[in-house]
Symmetry: C2
Subunit: 295 residues, 2 copies
């Protein structure tokens, strides 16, 4: 079983408008609501692949109740007194506009309970994936703490995070998976190889860098492995990184070779681009991509 942690889950609301007119009133033609957050997307892709998965996330308030009722994967919720956040994406005639709420403040006692819940979950897990931002006010050290809890249970951890949380995960010895911009930003470096080198020197087991149309690179102490992106894929890139994370986690958890894990990640990321909703993948396309077919 893979445990997928979402530190800051969200209700993802999508508004479809006709013409998007900033500075004026926009009549919403269609509203969609779904459970969101990067770890939730990872869990949903793993479930679609029939990989046993459990989501672990803090839930609170009316929004938390809704998330609990709408989540379609097995999950353990740690109750919090704050209210989970909502993100609003407005789609219309132009590029989507996204509004992200900051999320609740989670108390130290609630994070302690979260760690205990995670430890219990990990007792029969084979891999831990931690994805997405921390709620405001949360210490980046939390991520390092989760990596240590997993190591104590004999479980490897992959962390998809940015900024100080990415550095903390590297120091704790996790597999880290930033995209190129997050890598350069967190390490204050100008090129990918230097940034990945920084993460490895800090202690990361592996630094996997997603490069969008330029594929995926995995930096190890022994060298760099790269796979190209699937050519000709057009669609919705939101959630593609989470599908790639799910692929990496599934392959590494199953003990597959690194290059195969990267190919799985690239194929799943491309299969997610073909779906309009984050957290979903086009499974037939995924299988074609794995066999080397273009889009």
């Amino acid at each position: 079983m893979i445990v997928a942690v979402t530190p800051n889950p969200a209700i993802d609301v999508t508004y479809r408008v006709g013409t998007h007119t900033p500075g004026d009133t926009n009549r919403v033609l269609e509203v969609r609501r779904r459970p969101g957050g990067k770890g939730v997307n990872v869990a949903r892709v793993l479930a679609a692949l029939d990989v046993p998965v459990k989501a672990v996330l803090p839930l609170g308030g009316d929004a938390g109740r809704w998330l609990g009722s709408a989540l379609d994967v097995p999950f353990d919720a740690v109750p919090i007194s704050g209210e989970n956040r909502t993100t609003v994406t407005v789609t219309g005639d132009g590029h989507p506009t996204v509004y992200t709420e900051p999320g609740p403040e989670v108390s130290e006692a609630e994070w302690t309970a979260f760690g205990r819940c995670l430890a219990a979950c990990l007792s029969d897990a084979g891999f831990l994936a931690v994805s997405g931002s921390l709620p405001r006010g949360a210490s980046p050290d939390l991520v390092a703490e989760w990596v240590r809890i997993a190591r104590k249970a004999g479980v490897r951890t992959l962390v998809d995070a940015s900024g100080p949380a990415l550095l903390a995960a590297a120091r704790a010895g996790a597999v880290v998976k930033p995209n190129r911009a997050e890598l350069l930003d967190a390490t204050s470096t100008a090129d990918e190889a230097s940034g990945a080198g920084t993460l490895l020197r800090l202690g990361a087991e592996l630094a996997v860098v997603s490069r969008g149309a330029d594929g995926i690179a995995a930096y190890t102490p022994g060298g760099v492995f790269t796979v190209p992106a699937i050519p000709g894929v057009h669609g919705n890139p939101t959630g593609a990184g989470d599908a790639a994370t799910a692929g990496l986690a599934a392959a590494l958890a199953a003990g597959r070779p690194l290059i195969e894990a990267l190919r799985t990640a690239a194929a799943l990321g491309a299969a997610a681009v073909l779906r309009p909703v984050a957290g979903e993948v086009d499974l037939p396309a995924y299988r074609r991509f794995l066999n080397g077919a273009p889009a």
Copy 2:
């Protein structure tokens, strides 16, 4: 007691962002949620004036539960199977951007229950105010039906609506209160006097037209009464029309002369502009404005 009907209440969410960047991701710095809808604003202003008021509204879903828990005025809720809508207002460095969800579909049986609830409420009421849009799919005749229910109870009705619902209210003999744009649009006329004449010919008891900076005009079969706007008022115009409606309703319910009702409406509308949140009024300013002081 004044009964204030909100046919399509909403959770009004306000997002404060730093720089508003359409087509990109906007980090929300502050989130505020409050019960909204024009009739809710009217009820809150009446309550602030210590005028006995009861809000009547359809509530359903998680949003309805939240509205019921957050409403700070007495209310009767008619349960519906749909979910109440949310409106999102984004404030930042430019003019606010508003997204309005369409709202739930309310069944015929639910509207019948709504009418029964309204009739029960009106048995000890002195005035009915109906404010705001109908949920999608609802017939404009509903508004006429509510006016008839009120008349049966010996109660006058003021309707602040637009389009076909405004015309239906006029036909049913209500006091109607469009703004100038709504008046011209609903009556397909090019000038205010012709539009108001149309509403009176249809059967409206009175047509009160709010003109923003140009004050308020009341068209009666006997002539036109006008009051100027309070000069020098700057602030948030959202909810000013609802405060004016509350003032009209309170004065008419108390049997005050029409010109005094218009002055009350103008003063309350201006006092609402001074408050950052719709449904609130600056009471000391209201009293100054009533006494003829400028802003």
